[in-house]
Symmetry: C2
Subunit: 229 residues, 2 copies
């Protein structure tokens, strides 16, 4: 099979020296890539410069992206040529539009106007005591995957922080329906450490639990290879 | 001598999964550390987890910080026990206070109120079409150094983007006076690449120019060791 995996976290620039980054080590994506490579699959890994990478392998191809716009451009053609997408990347939900001092915002009669502005300076001045940053939503990539390729198997991820198991699974099921995913891997940041990674692999009618990145990777290999038969 | 060096770029959390990061590879700080170690000095390097580090050395001690608050706490006692501070770290000018949807901001009669709020959620929801992030200025660490230790030699850095040589030097001289620094190393992001680093070492009555990180490091070693005699 041709397996497409995303990993790491995207960064959105505020100016030439500052970005908003979504944290993700890339360790889970690397573990998943290694398990599929070991199974004999072709793997394309779309990841970020700072993410952990799997060891080089003749069936592994790596594409580096920084932000959501680049991810979108790189992913669309790849989704059309792969059998499955395992989308573990932490993708920025918002991207900076305009940053300005509080006084300019206070003086405005319609704050929505700032969503149409952009900063002309390359490095925003640090004179002001406070700043206001306006951000707009990025395109939701997971929702486009089945439009790009209705036949691709789609594994999505949902990361929440400090919620109940019920809330985690409920949120995963909503994402499963909305994005026509085959599995949503639901996890809570508080249950993730370097050597532990609790996750629920949520499907329409079933649920599996994993305790480590290797176990998540193994369950995904089983699932996608079973479906192939 | 006991040389204190800062390098890398700080990150300020928006929530548990997102931060604003100041970009800096740490390569310049590492090059400076190596030159002083080669000269026989004791070096304490305060840096970030992702920054490039110099090779291990028996006279090198490394302290890791993430954000401005941690930097402040770590640096104050160190400044009191070192002969010189070379402050090449890219320190965040602003730290996130509160993030909310545009509608809540539009409905407010006094936007300054948001500077007193904080987000209770661990991961800010991504339902809204746009978000507004309020930030406040961080303490300016370089301005505190001579208060902490009037005898320390202080080398500061000023990074601008796409400005004239005159503007760069003028800005450096203002910082020199304001922070009672011995040298401000002024550089323009557009003149920095992996193998090139143009910089002006600005002093009260003189100016030296460097073309690489090694040359900047060498000039700083010369300057601090000459002063000692």
């Amino acid at each position: 099979m041709n397996i497409l995996i995303t990993s790491g976290g995207t960064s959105e620039k505020i100016d030439r020296v500052r970005s908003i980054t979504n944290h993700s080590t890339g360790r889970l994506g690397a573990a998943i890539a290694e398990k599929f490579l070991a199974k004999g699959d072709q793997v394309t890994l779309v990841t970020t410069r700072k993410a952990l990478k799997p060891a080089a392998h003749e069936h592994l191809r790596i594409e580096i992206v920084e932000n959501v716009a680049e991810l979108l451009a790189v992913l669309e053609p790849l989704v059309k040529t792969h059998d499955a997408l395992i989308h573990s990347m932490a993708v920025s939900d918002y991207t900076p539009v305009y940053m300005t001092g509080l006084e300019e915002v206070a003086a405005s009669s319609d704050v929505a106007e700032f969503l149409d502005r952009s900063n002309s300076e390359s490095k925003i001045s640090s004179q002001e005591e406070s700043q206001v940053l306006f951000l707009k939503k990025t395109p939701k990539i997971i929702s486009k995957v089945k439009e790009w390729n209705p036949h691709i198997r789609l594994i999505g991820f949902k990361l929440l922080v400090d919620v109940s198991k019920e809330k985690l699974i409920e949120t995963a099921r909503a994402s499963l329906d909305k994005n026509q995913a085959d599995i949503i891997v639901a996890n809570d940041l508080l249950d993730i450490s370097e050597d532990r990674h609790q996750a629920y692999l949520v499907r329409k009618d079933s649920l599996e639990e994993a305790q480590s990145k290797e176990e998540i990777a193994q369950l995904l290999v089983h699932y996608l290879h079973a479906k192939e038969l």
